[in-house]
């Protein structure tokens, strides 16, 4: 069967929407329709809640949904990484069991990769899974998990073989979070937020059929998850911006989004709020100080240049040219910008920057910047790891000699 044209798709989806969309439905009712019709994830295979459309036509579906203000499938958090990973590596039984409830939003997912002892060195995980009868028995600790306290399922990377090199001894599982043996604790940060969890596994159980990929291929499967994470959300319908926003369904969606976005409320402050720099300069009178002007200019030059560098990277990609070094540099630039912001915000704010909370400048936003910025050069890979990546992958400098080869059992670890 040949691929339909853009016009055909547009007509078909428009008709389907006209027949089915109603903002007074419940969110679940509507998303069930989306999943069963395949319009919720049109690029997924027909047999798995999609319509097998090429990526280039997904936009058409999104446009039509947005045109009437229709809500999309559940897409927040880790669930779409789970879907992408299962579509690539899962068994049919797994796809059947999990994919539909991902789209409908009935299940919430989280990711169990990082551990206290393996941060920069993710492949050094020591959480273990041992096969006993029909179950893998899981023991260990994971950390930096977002929203584990809401999650139904977790993507788990655990060690199943200690006698092979580190990357070869891990397996990948879907674990039921809501079971005895999985203890989810909040992890409070220095800025007072608790956006992450630490999770303790004590003889937690994973049924054999929840192994994703083969035993020992966990690293490979995890790479799929991480690649999708880096790429961002996978072309699924973003929350629609147009159309009426009244009706039961929108209220339900807003509640869902609020819950999903809660852990990320301080992220703009972590990045330094460069958007406030010039405003604050005027507001505080710092724009009269020749030295502060220099510091502001240095910071704004860096921030602007980082933005343009990212756009150069995207433009090169769009032209199908090799992406060039621009993409990999963004994270490092973001650290510099954030640290620069903390410095300049302090200079501009002066003594008031000793305060925090409601009474402090911008109702605590400035204070939150100052205590959040230190995370930016750590989260998602430290600056040091970024420099290694840039040096080895972009500049092709010789690799760091390794000391963690051979059977993992013998590798030095924490």
């Amino acid at each position: 069967m040949s691929t339909p044209t853009e016009a055909e798709v547009r007509t078909e989806v428009r008709e389907w929407i006209a027949a089915n969309w109603n903002p007074d439905m419940s969110l679940l009712e509507w998303r069930t329709k989306l999943a069963d019709s395949g319009w919720g994830a049109p690029q997924w295979p027909k047999e798995w809640y999609g319509r097998g459309l090429p990526h280039s036509l997904v936009r058409v579906v999104q446009e039509e949904l947005a045109a009437v203000g229709a809500v999309g499938p559940a897409a927040s958090g880790v669930r779409m990484l789970a879907a992408a990973t299962l579509l690539e590596h899962g068994t049919d039984a797994q796809k059947k069991k999990f994919l539909r409830r991902i789209l409908t939003g009935e299940d919430t997912w989280c990711q169990f990769f990082s551990e206290p002892g393996s941060g920069s060195d993710l492949a050094g995980a020591t959480t273990r899974a041992d096969l006993k009868g029909d179950f893998w028995i899981v023991n260990g600790q994971k950390v930096w998990t977002t929203s584990a306290h809401h999650a139904d399922h977790g993507l788990l990377l655990a060690r199943t073989d200690w006698d092979v090199p580190k990357h070869e001894g891990m397996s990948y599982f879907v674990i039921d979070v809501k079971q005895q043996g999985v203890d989810v604790q909040p992890l409070k940060q220095m800025n007072g937020h608790a956006s992450f969890n630490q999770v303790f596994f004590t003889d937690a159980k994973v049924p054999k059929e929840n192994l994703v990929g083969k035993v020992g291929e966990g690293w490979k499967v995890a790479m799929t998850t991480l690649a999708h994470e880096r790429r961002g959300a996978d072309g699924l319908a973003p929350p629609s911006k147009k159309g009426r926003k009244e009706g039961r369904i929108h209220a339900e969606e807003r509640a869902e989004n609020d819950k999903a976005n809660e852990p990320y409320r301080w992220y703009p402050q972590r990045a330094g709020r460069v958007d406030l720099i010039l405003e604050r300069a005027k507001e505080t009178g710092a724009d009269k100080d020749p030295h502060v002007r220099q510091e502001i200019a240095k910071l704004m030059i860096m921030a602007k240049s980082a933005e343009w560098t990212a756009r150069r990277a995207r433009a090169a990609q769009q032209q199908g040219r090799p992406q060039g070094p621009e993409g990999s540099l963004g994270k490092l630039a973001a650290s510099h910008v954030a640290r620069g912001c903390a410095r300049v915000h302090t200079m501009m704010t002066g003594t008031e920057a000793m305060l925090t909370g409601k009474e402090s400048p911008r109702e605590g936003i400035i204070a939150e910047i100052l205590v959040s910025v230190p995370a930016v050069s750590i989260a998602g890979g430290t600056d040091e790891i970024q420099r290694n990546i840039i040096a080895e992958r972009v500049l092709e400098l010789p690799k760091e000699p390794r000391f963690d080869t051979g059977p993992f059992r013998n590798v030095r670890r924490n």
Binding site: S120, M354, T356
Partner: protein
């Protein structure tokens, strides 16, 4: 303290680049005391209280070690030492992040009274400070946050009116030393330091939410409170500035104590933490970062020590050096804190890891008494440039 008492009799006329054996023993005694009384479990407990200190530990510091009066002459009940010993105390307190009204009572109020008070006033006020019996503080800055005394607007003669803010331990002090000016004066003229009882009906105090919970700040409104001028009005501006310069030096030393504590913890963690099959401290990225941190800490520490020595012998350059040391310590402490978090990685950003306690002190101390850029400009002016 007996070893120390001997050293009092030797007048020092030159800057010393090493502490004497007596000073090292004094430091060791304070360090032992604080290791015992101010572990981070205690810091965390106290920073969550409204008062922010443990009266029992304050009593012990006062009675056993006589710390609040270390720099107060013996005739006023103090130990009779000077700036160098005071700065040894603040350095060790900064290292341990002690939660106690020491900086307010001993450094700010104590020096203010010594700088401005008449014989009679000193004899009346200092013994209670030296013995730790009363808590005190100095109120300089006003809600505009300006650290230059010329900008003071609070007015006083026998009654005081105005608002002070960012007053360290202002919520618990019994005695408030307030920088104010006589009506219709301006600039550096007409300024004076006034003693006000905190319990006066014209005093209204409100604790502020400070970024650094280990150092409490308050706003204080004065509405006709009774005030006693310390000394004369003649050169009140100079006496205020002298007090602030001494405070800057004591703060710089306190900061370097904190910076050293952070550096030590970063070094320790980097020797212990293993990633990729080796201690992270064996990677040049960490190694060279730590070497740079050590350099920065040592340079700023040299400045802080030198300024204390210069103030102790009343070297004419010492006010310039106060600004130099404050600017240097501010940059060094904050940078050390940022890099210590970085070396700890994700764990360094958590609440349960202790690093952020020092980070917040570093950030807040960078600002307290004036930003580095303020002090660099002051340094240039004081050097006659």
């Amino acid at each position: 303290m007996s070893a120390l008492e001997e050293s009092k009799s030797e007048p020092r006329r030159r800057i010393q680049f090493a502490f004497t054996d007596e000073q090292e023993q004094f430091r060791a005694a304070i360090r032992r005391f604080l290791a015992d009384k101010s572990p981070t479990t205690e810091v965390r407990r106290l920073m969550a209280t409204a008062e922010g200190y443990d009266p029992k530990v304050w009593r012990q510091m006062s009675e056993e070690l006589a710390l609040p009066g270390v720099h107060i002459p013996e005739q006023y009940g103090g130990a009779g030492f000077g700036m160098v010993e005071l700065c040894i105390v603040t350095e060790e307190m900064g290292r341990a992040l002690l939660c106690a009204p020491y900086f307010s009572t001993a450094v700010l109020a104590g020096n203010a009274i010594m700088n401005a008070g008449t014989e009679e006033q000193k004899a009346k006020l200092l013994p209670d400070i030296a013995s730790g019996a009363r808590l005190a503080t100095l109120a300089i800055t006003e809600p505009n946050g300006n650290w230059d005394p010329s900008s003071i607007e609070t007015v006083s003669r026998f009654r005081i009116d105005g608002a002070k803010s960012y007053v360290v331990d202002g919520h618990i002090a019994d005695l408030l030393i307030v920088a104010a000016r006589v009506p219709s004066s301006s600039g550096r003229d007409g300024l004076g330091l006034f003693a006000v009882e905190a319990k006066d009906a014209g005093v209204e105090r409100r604790q502020l939410e400070s970024m650094d919970p280990t150092r409490k700040l308050a706003r204080i409104d004065f509405r006709g409170a009774h005030a006693t001028l310390l000394g004369e009005l003649d050169d009140g501006g100079k006496r205020i500035q002298r007090t602030m310069d001494q405070a800057a030096i004591a703060l710089a030393n306190e900061m370097m104590g904190g910076a050293q504590a952070l550096l030590d913890s970063a070094v320790k963690y980097s020797k212990m933490r293993v990633q990729f099959g080796r201690e992270i401290g064996s990677f040049q990225a960490i190694k060279h970062k730590l070497a740079d941190m050590l350099l920065e800490v040592e340079l700023a520490k040299s400045a802080a020590y030198y300024a204390a020595q210069a103030a102790a012998i009343n070297d004419p350059e010492w006010p310039a050096l106060a600004s130099l040391a404050k600017a240097s310590a501010s940059e060094s402490y904050l940078h050390t804190a940022i890099e210590t978090i970085q070396i700890h990685g994700g764990i360094g950003f958590t609440w349960d890891n202790d690093t952020h306690l020092w980070f917040k002190r570093a950030k807040s101390s960078e600002i307290f008494l004036g930003l580095p850029s303020y002090h660099r400009e002051l340094l240039m002016q004081r050097w006659g440039v």
